[in-house]
């Protein structure tokens, strides 16, 4: 489903965020990206949805090399991917419902689909009674759950999650992990960057560990460290 081949990514500031990274993620696989702050986890996720382009190497997603993909094909690519962002990226002037509906609206889904799917997904993340709130009326963890709901309301092929439990208490965090696991078992490929030792150790999924841009470990049924 995703293939990273000898990817090197250097930022304008002369930081090499990734150095000659290679790995492959199969369909319906669940992968944790771990590593210290600044080791390149978010960069790797951004490469997979063409928010960044590598200097060297190839990134294959759903069978196509997206590095050379023309700009007008990007929307199509992104509709296959659900993104959970480290900083949520919620729209402050839209309610919870509208934020989630927005992801369906902009790709032209009809009204009735929206009216049906959004409440469903809000219930899954436990926000059904906060549908009319605005983001600034939510706690940090609630905002994070909105961003999770938005990412998979579209039932994407691939889910890229950047610290989806960073602002959640252990209880809520475990709920989210059960959810991601369930999504994964329905055939969605999940790649998740995390610092949460406990969660990684509990789940026992494949773990790819980064250190200063280099893949130092790629272990099936791995632990945090």
């Amino acid at each position: 489903m995703i293939r990273i081949e000898n990817v090197t990514k250097t930022y304008s500031t002369d930081v090499t965020a990734l150095r000659d990274a290679s790995f492959e993620v199969n369909k319906a696989e669940f992968v944790f990206l771990v590593g210290p702050s600044g080791s390149g986890k978010s960069t790797l996720l951004r490469l997979m949805s063409r928010q960044e382009r590598p200097e060297k190497g190839g990134v294959w997603v759903a069978g196509r090399n997206i590095v050379e993909m023309p700009n007008n094909k990007i929307p199509e690519l992104r509709r296959k991917i659900g993104n959970i962002f480290q900083d949520y990226k919620l729209l402050l002037n839209k309610t919870v419902f509208e934020n989630v509906a927005f992801a369906l609206e902009v790709i032209g889904k009809p009204k009735q689909v929206i009216r049906q799917q959004v409440p469903q997904v809000l219930e899954i993340v436990g926000l059904e009674d906060k549908a009319d709130r605005f983001p600034h009326q939510l706690s940090g963890g609630e905002q994070q759950r909105v961003s999770i709901a938005r990412a998979f309301v579209n039932r994407p092929l691939i889910l890229l999650a950047d610290e989806p439990t960073g602002n959640l208490d252990p209880g809520t965090g475990e709920g989210i992990m059960r959810l991601l696991d369930r999504i994964n078992t329905t055939g969605t490929t999940v790649v998740m960057a995390t610092h949460d030792q406990r969660i990684v150790n509990q789940m026992r999924k494949r773990v790819i560990q980064l250190d200063r841009g280099v893949i130092v470990r790629d272990q099936h049924r791995g632990v945090y460290d």
């Binding site: 949805s49 063409r50 928010q51 700009n71 007008n72 990007i74 929307p75 199509e76 690519l77 992104r78 509709r79 993104n83 990226k89 729209l91 402050l92 002037n93 927005f102 992801a103 609206e105 902009v106 790709i107 032209g108 009809p110 009204k111 938005r150 579209n154």
Partner: protein
């Protein structure tokens, strides 16, 4: 498809009203600039009509002393025949002898017995009446007048009023300057609409970023903003064009009621469909200005 259209209009409206003051300022500037542009055109039209009204009635009257011999008169006839052959200034001419001239005077002062007494075949000079070519300018007429004045036995040459020259110069002076001003304002309007769009997009850059990240196409993102600019320009054009028509009506009415009947300004109006054409042109120009402003502004922020 229908849901897309409602989306575009809903988003456009939301953006317009969120940026209300900037939109209002942009509309005002567009309005005033378009109004000024239109006014410039209208004033030019007024000048043209007034000038042609004045020029059309123009006759060059060359008064010849009564004691001129037939040979001396022939000098005039020859000069004018030659000028007529050239065809640039003189269209036609005719001679009005003393009897004819007294007749004209008596008709002119029909109500004034003193004047009629005054004009007898002793006191009244005969004259040549020169009808100028329609397109001939005031300068050309003045040159001709001077040339004729140089001939012998000329009593007086009544040339077209200097008012015409004054008016021409005034037209140029006012026209160029109000055109410059309206172009500067039009530029400000483009800039403002550009800016309203840019501000709208800047205010929603997070939204745009998110839209791109969830897979919206660039056109989908761009359309509401472009429409917003178009509508801003269009509203400015409509108000400006309307104001133009109103002021024109006001002025045209004023010409006949407010000013003294003989004020000499009667022709200083744009007539027929001209004001409407100009107003429509302003509406179109407003839409164009809006489209240009918003299209260039919407081009930014959209590199995937």
């Amino acid at each position: 498809m229908f849901s897309r259209i409602t989306y575009v209009f809903r988003e456009m409206w939301a953006s317009l009203s969120r940026n209300l003051t900037l939109t209002v300022a942009a509309v005002i500037t567009a309005t005033v600039s378009l109004f000024l542009s239109g006014l410039t055109l209208l004033i030019q039209e007024g000048f043209d009509n007034q000038l042609s009204a004045w020029t059309k009635g123009v006759r060059l009257l060359v008064y010849v002393d009564n004691d001129a011999t037939p040979e001396q008169l022939k000098v005039f006839t020859d000069a004018l025949t030659q000028a007529k052959a050239e065809g640039t200034v003189v269209k036609d001419f005719n001679y009005c002898d003393v009897a004819c001239s007294v007749d004209v005077a008596h008709k002119l002062y029909a109500g004034d017995p003193t004047a009629i007494e005054l004009y007898n075949d002793k006191t009244t000079p005969s004259f040549f009446r020169v009808i100028p070519v329609n397109q001939s300018s005031a300068t050309q007429l003045n040159q001709l007048a001077e040339r004729l004045h140089g001939l012998p036995k000329v009593n007086a040459v009544v040339s077209p009023d200097q008012m015409i020259t004054t008016l021409s110069v005034l037209k140029g002076f006012v026209g160029v300057r109000s055109l410059i001003m309206s172009i500067v304002l039009l530029l400000a309007a483009v800039l403002l609409i550009w800016n309203a769009i840019r501000t709208a997009m800047f205010a929603r850059r997070r939204e745009i970023e998110v839209m791109k990240l969830v897979g919206a196409t660039n056109w989908f993102i761009r359309l509401p903003f472009m429409l917003e600019g178009l509508v801003t320009g269009l509203i400015g054009g409509l108000i400006g064009g309307g104001a133009l028509l109103a002021v024109n009506q006001d002025w045209t009415d004023g010409i006949t009621t407010r000013f003294p009947a003989n004020s000499g300004l009667a022709a200083f109006v744009a007539t027929g469909s001209t004001p409407w054409s100009i107003a429509l042109a302003m509406v179109a120009l407003g839409a164009l200005v809006g489209a240009i402003g918003s299209a260039t502004a919407a081009g930014r922020f959209l590199d995937v």
